[in-house]
């Protein structure tokens, strides 16, 4: 394992020091491992809290700031943060209008956030709503399973709900919007190599030199199938096929994210995006907005994921609204 770290068990704490030092617009509570906006949101703005295991940077801490999250809770590497973190964040960011929890659908995250919401409502009366993202089409969806994993659409939910909250909408309306965004997105990823969790010290899974893992999860969860390594065009095809089969993206504009998983250089992401765009053009999908880069990663995993969001004019307007975070910034 070759990593720019001090020790496996200090990575999260050390990275939080770096985030704190690098971004004067953020404030970090190191005891609770919470990243806040340094400025105070105005009274009656709905608060937005997200969080999850570390190792997916810039998600979530890199999306804290004007027009997006008010706080992000950092868990251990790939491990959900604990309810007391979310409770602390929730009480801190509440400005009287309640707080929305944005949760990626993993059993641990859902349960920890649930406990935090119960604590907040019981102990303080703060209204909490939550949205659970579940956009990974690699996973079969069913009432009898844990459901689909939450991945790329989480970035869209945080941006769009953040813009709505900044505009002064109330908790119910922001939560409904967030759920609409979550339901309108689909994602699929591919790994060329496994990431390495520092505490484990070796790659999470072995992948032969001539194979790739299609439908991989952002914690290195195995995907749909292991297939021979292919060219960018074929990879794009195999990522988009299940996405386009799952939801009709031809009835509105679409926001597309070509996301790097951490170990793939930008030039490769652009190569992939070119192929994705060709397929979308052929499929009659109108790309209204696009993002290419590392937004929701899996440590040093080589590979990428594609997220499509069916976005009507309201969502696109909110997407375009000003945002000022380390990970996304425009309009200010």
């Amino acid at each position: 394992m070759k990593k720019l770290i001090n020790a496996a068990d200090t990575v999260v704490a050390d990275a939080l020091l770096g985030i704190d030092a690098a971004h004067p617009a953020l404030r970090v509570d190191h005891e609770h491992r919470i990243i806040y906006r340094a400025d105070t949101a105005r009274p009656n703005k709905v608060g937005l809290v997200s969080g999850g295991g570390s190792g997916h940077e810039p998600l979530h801490g890199g999306f804290v700031g004007f027009g997006m999250l008010d706080a992000a809770c950092a868990g251990e590497m790939f491990t959900s943060p604990t309810p007391d973190q979310m409770f602390e964040a929730t009480t801190t960011v509440d400005r009287g209008a309640g707080v929305l929890h944005i949760i990626k659908n993993y059993t641990g995250d859902v349960m920890n956030f649930e406990m935090a919401a119960e604590m907040a409502e019981a102990d303080t009366g703060i209204l909490v709503e939550s949205v659970v993202t579940h956009d990974d089409v690699a996973v079969q969806d069913s009432l009898y399973t844990a459901g689909r994993r939450g991945v790329g659409v989480t970035v869209f939910v945080e941006k769009i709900a953040g813009a709505a909250a900044e505009q002064g909408r109330d908790l119910r309306s922001v939560a409904a919007l967030a759920r609409r965004v979550s339901d309108s997105g689909r994602s699929m990823g591919v790994a060329l190599t496994s990431g390495t969790v520092p505490a484990v010290g070796k790659p999470t899974f072995d992948l032969p030199d001539d194979q790739m893992e299609l439908g991989v999860g952002i914690h290195g969860e195995p995907g749909r199938e292991r297939v021979p390594l292919a060219g960018a065009a074929q990879i794009a095809d195999r990522l988009l096929e299940p996405i386009l089969a799952d939801l009709d993206f031809t009835r509105s504009g679409t926001i597309v994210m070509l996301n790097g998983l951490g170990g793939s250089p930008l030039i490769e992401l652009y190569v992939m995006y070119a192929e994705v765009k060709k397929i979308l053009d052929r499929a009659g999908v109108d790309v209204a907005r696009s993002l290419v880069g590392n937004y929701i990663t899996s440590l040093d995993m080589a590979g990428c994921s594609v997220t499509l969001l069916a976005a009507d004019d309201e969502l696109i307007t909110l997407w375009d609204a000003p945002v000022e975070t380390p990970g996304l910034r425009w309009g200010r």
């Binding site: 007391d84 993993y106 641990g108 649930e114 406990m115 844990a146 969860e221």
Partner: protein
Amino acid sequence: MTADPSVTPSTLTLDNVRGWITSFHTLVTEQKAYLTELDSAIGDADHGTNLSRGMDAVATTLDGAAPAGIGELLKGVGMTLVSTVGGASGPLYGTFFLRFAASAGDAGTLDGEAVGTALTAGLAGVVARGKASVGDKTMVDALTPAVTAWGDAIDNGATLTDAATAARDAARLGSDSTMPLVARKGRASYLGERSAGHLDPGSVSTTLLFTALAQALP
């Protein structure tokens, strides 16, 4: 542990409970790598790390604490687990101990029936939180038969020691039964058919929990 091993206990004392937690800590520490290895096959390779981080914190908290009753002691355990483990097992083990504690209240000792009631409350909390049924390939597959076995043993007039042994054996059988199952809850469920052929890590740590209880009731 100050329990006198020469006396067959008829109640679970505060000291027994402390011994239970201490033994669980020891077992989790010993089996940390094994639990993580099980979790790397069908999960995300952290169950041992998670639980041992939590039990280390529990040990630190308990050290020097003088809780007045079983409820207070186990509430502390539950809260510590909730706030240090994270992941799926944190809320689940945390809820288990919190509900057990609530059932035990400020009692200084619990008889076999009261322990059964508290265990049942803990199990109900886990199910309410995780919504898993037996057969979903989770810790519930070990916890459910263990709690049932305890109750049955006490109903049949067994000593606490025998009840704990029966619960431990039932947990282990329940854990073993997860091997062929396809997971329907938790991270392993993403694997679908490929989750079959592996033990569920949480069911193995649950077996440790009852092994620890049996060790604390010699």
